[in-house]
Amino acid sequence: MIPENAVCVRPEGFTETPTHYCPGCTHGVAHRLVAEVLQEMNVLDKTIGVAPVGCSVFAYNYFDTDFVEAPHGRAPAMATGIKRVLPDRIVFTYQGDGDLASIGMGEIVHAAARGENLTVIFVNNANFGMTGGQMAPTTLPGMKTTSSQNGRDVETQGYPIKMAEMLATLDGVGFCARRSLHDAKNIRLAKKAIRLAFETQARGLGFAMVELLSTCPTNWGMTPVNSLKFVEEHMVPAYPLGDYKISEAIKQIKI
């Protein structure tokens, strides 16, 4: 029984395992939104998650659904394998920016191009969190990381990749959006987008991805509060929020 005055309860989609994320890391927020959406859509029972290699490698400990753990970057391929043999299940990947936009660029592009009925939760925290804060393809120009110690030099280390914009150009994509997790309002908007991304899959409307701008206080060397500010002030301008592709059928959905 949930008491009447409860302010916050554990979503049914969560196990009771405490997460290992650093204090203030928004991976936990992203997890919660996914769990809430799966619960609200009443699909927990038939969902299979695919965890990446990255800080969210242990995602399978926290979601109360079936889960597999993919090699680094290959989650969309594993998810394709699962979805093709079990098309009535809900299959999602949860991937970081190193996983999805660096080593896994091939897999994500082709899953999208094939229009695989998958939902991808893409957590962009502008670095490789798990391995100690190296540069990611999404690292902002000038941003210091342990492998761009004088700040990312676009001349030798390239320019940030805007995944949502890029994938939106592919015909197989049914829904593709970018949201941010830096404050309550944006978190609510993120949840709606996550819902739409799962609805896209449930209706067989093709590949769906939500890119979530996220924090990494530990490797950014910032307090949790300052890292939320960093997202708002530096990440959002570089990675504009919005819907980059939304099919007509999805537009009709009222949540």
Partner: protein, 370 residues
């Protein structure tokens, strides 16, 4: 140059720089990321090439490309990343260009963990990539040895137009020890007669490829590699001996398992047990000859590894069933403590396994009753 306290990974990176490394391509992975991080700072400082690739697959093919131009080039990774490099390594071997790689091994298979392991021995020594080729594989057990072998790697790779891989485990990568760096060698571009660095108005064009559409030609190429391998076997075997002169039991172990065994050997010697240690420094080419000679005068061997007995098979091949070869291993990222090996020495000092018994089965049976 005076000794400094160096961390294994950083020492490897600096040693490569001093050996004339012109280009590094890599991708972060624990427990070797310090190599990449160190070089991300050091290489641009010296005006040399550094790229954090999109993946190990990207990195190894960047190495392949740079290697074709004849410069000193390397990559480093850890087990899962090295698995991804295997295709490229086979191509590099098939194209006969020199390339240097470092694998700081961790627990596996699969994602495994980041603890020290030696389970990629077979992958490194007995192929890994497809086709018929033999890489040179070096296995340092200390920071100083890692520095020295890093420098040697470039020389060997160039001398034999071969892949040279240094395999170490997370212990050596993460450990600090006093060590001496070599002098900085100036970057020197050898005028190789095979490098595809542009005709530049001076010569006929060159092509580097691993395609031999005619099987007869491919066979010739395979034989060429094999002949070269025989020269390597004849000239490049390296190992370290400890207390072997009057040894009745000989432990064979490489890298960290080898140095842990050294502690056990010292303790056993203090108790008067005649035990010695052979630590292969090159595991490919393998010091088969010295093991074969030892087999003629010692009572038994004990192979210790941080895997399920991969080098064990190479030792057995060299011993040829003349005396018992026993085994003790830890798996999955566990590092043996000296007392575990000392227990094995005590046991063997009392009674040894039958010559024809299977060492892995015997070890598993002991583990089950322990």
């Amino acid at each position: 140059m005076p000794k400094e306290l160096w961390k294994g990974n950083e020492a490897i990176a600096e040693a490569a720089v001093r050996a004339g490394l012109e280009a590094y391509f890599g991708y972060p992975i624990t427990p070797q990321t310090e190599i990449l991080e160190y070089l991300s700072r050091r290489m641009p400082e010296l005006g040399r090439a550094f790229v954090q690739a999109e993946s190990e697959l990207g990195a190894i093919n960047m190495v392949y490309g740079a290697a074709c131009t004849g410069v000193r080039v390397m990559s480093s990774s850890s087990s899962p990343g090295v698995s991804l490099m295997m295709e490229g390594i086979s191509y590099i071997a098939g194209t006969e260009v020199p390339a240097v790689l470092v694998n700081v091994m961790r627990g596996g298979p699969g994602l495994g963990n980041i603890a020290p392991a030696q389970a990629d021995y077979n992958q490194a020594v007995h192929g890994g990539g497809h086709g018929d080729y033999q890489p040179i594989v070096l296995a340092p057990a200390s920071v100083q040895e890692a520095i020295d072998l890093m420098v040697l790697s470039f020389d060997l790779a160039e001398k034999y137009r071969s892949v040279c891989m240094m395999i170490l485990d997370g212990c050596v990568g993460q450990m600090m020890e006093p060590a001496q760096m070599p002098e900085m060698r100036p970057v020197h571009r050898e005028n190789w007669d095979w490098a595809t660095n542009g005709k530049m108005g001076k010569r006929e064009r060159r092509i580097l490829s691993s395609i031999y559409i005619e099987p007869a030609e491919e066979e010739k190429m395979n034989l060429r590699l094999l002949n070269r391998w025989q020269t390597i076997q004849a000239n490049e075997v390296r190992y370290k001996e400890y207390f072997l002169d009057d040894a009745e039991i000989v432990i064979v172990g490489f890298g960290t398992a080898g140095r842990v065994a050294l502690s056990a050997v010292r303790e056993a010697r203090a108790e008067g047990i005649k035990v010695g240690l052979l630590r292969p420094v090159t595991v490919s080419p393998f010091p088969s000859e010295v093991i074969e000679q030892l087999a003629g005068r010692v009572d038994a061997f004990l192979v210790t590894e941080m895997n399920s007995g991969q080098m064990l098979e190479d030792v057995r091949l060299a011993v040829k069933g003349r005396v018992p070869v026993e085994f003790y291993g830890r798996l999955g990222g566990m590092v043996p403590f000296p007392d575990e090996i000392l227990n094995e020495i005590h046991r063997m000092a009392k009674s040894k396994m039958a010559v024809n018994a299977n060492p892995r089965d015997a070890w598993l049976a002991r583990m089950a009753t322990a």
